[in-house]
Amino acid sequence: MSQRSPLSEVKKGHISTLLSKGKRSDGRNLDEMRPVSIIEGAIETAEGSARMKLGNTEVAVGIKMGVGEPFGDTPNKGVLTTNVELIPMAFEEFESGPPSPMAIELSRVVDRGIRESQMIDLEGLCIEPKKEVWVLYVDIYALDYDGNLFDASSIAAVAALKNTVVPAKRFGKGEDFQLPLRSMPISCTTVKIGDYLVLDPTLEEDEVSSARLTVATDENGDLRAMQKGGNGFFTYEEVKKAIQMSTEAGKAIREKL
């Protein structure tokens, strides 16, 4: 996003010319998501799972659970950990080793989309206050990368959480039960290319964009999380427009889940 090589200037010119005619290189409208395909529950070793394609971007999400101690300041709540792994299988520039700043930002934005929206009823994951709670890991792996992992990751995480069954029997804690969920926030991302805002950018679009805005909205159209990225700016009018595009796209995706 930030590296402006001569090549990407050419690419940018090409993409901008198309945008000025209201077109994108893959034929989409500016406010249109790529095709979404989600396979839920395909991983039997996980408590819940989803494989998701957003255009050519593909991720796998698995939910694992265990029993552990609660944090001292939330003695009656389960513990949630969200992690995005950008494995080199997915893209030639992803590297093994400690997570890059990009992977960390992704993890934290997805985590906030789940945590701050209070999607999961964490109090329903308390076994014994102060002593035992369910620990929930949301592990997201990028398998094939063509831009906008923010949305692919967070939507696939929501899908995986939806089919998660708490493995209570395996841990000797009574009968298995469905993970207790409340609202279901959907994150959608817009980037700015020149003066245009486009939804759900491909990698090519992402590379020539100057700024990014991810917006998580809930069933009521309320805002649940937001993250601006990139070394460009938005005006407040642009922010409002991006919020509107994300809200609309979120509605459409929520219906598919």
């Binding site: 090589s5 997570p99 700043p101 999380a225 601006k228 922010v239």
Partner: protein
Amino acid sequence: MSYGDLMSMDLPEGLKLIDEEGKRLDGRRADELRPIKIEAGVLRRADGSAYVEMGKNKILAAVYGPRECHPRHLQDPTRAIVQCHYNMLSFSVDDRKRPGPDRRSVEISKIVGEALEYSIFLEQFPRTSIDVYIAVLQANAGTRCAGLTAASVAVADAGIPMRDLIPACAAGKVADTVVLDLNKEEDNFGDADVPLAYIPRTGEILLLQMDGHLTQAEFDRAIELAKGGCTTIYGLQQDALRRRYAFAGGDAQESEQEAGGNEA
């Protein structure tokens, strides 16, 4: 009541974040910033530096560069890059923080660095790195905004050509009220937080995050308040640099400037 008590508990009974007269725990109105002090040129070794107090936040920023870019593979032949390192000192919070970067500080470093990149004429210094270090000596909610405010003054103090200074502050929602510049208790027990970096002259938004739950109307109000806060802070940044240049050559002055109300 000690800090630790407030931190690890639900809101203690009887405590109201906003009282009947609309006053907050620390006596502020909804649209009021905490007292702010900004000082430029506080370190000798760094090329530029600044110190910011924003309420109980105490933050140092230092800038080195433009200088040779390490690691090499990050070099950009067309422009400088900004490498920003936000660092909470171990004793800046109630429970000792292990030294070294955690995931939170990596994320903050990234978004603060991106905002700074926009403000600098990077094309003038190809292949170099501008390294920005933010050290939080004492934290009390809002450190990313105070850190960016300080870092921007430090970049200016280093004499690096800039588009403009970047002021930053947060607004949020506390006890059903949209308020400016949350302190730690408000952040812990509030409903939403919206950090913003905004250049008053151009209306450009360089940093924007949101946590919690806001209607779109509440969000509008939060942005409105935060814009006002940024306008005030922008003035204090300029004052600090003016004092710095006025006394250049001598030691940096210990002149304090407080921001009371704020007509946002």
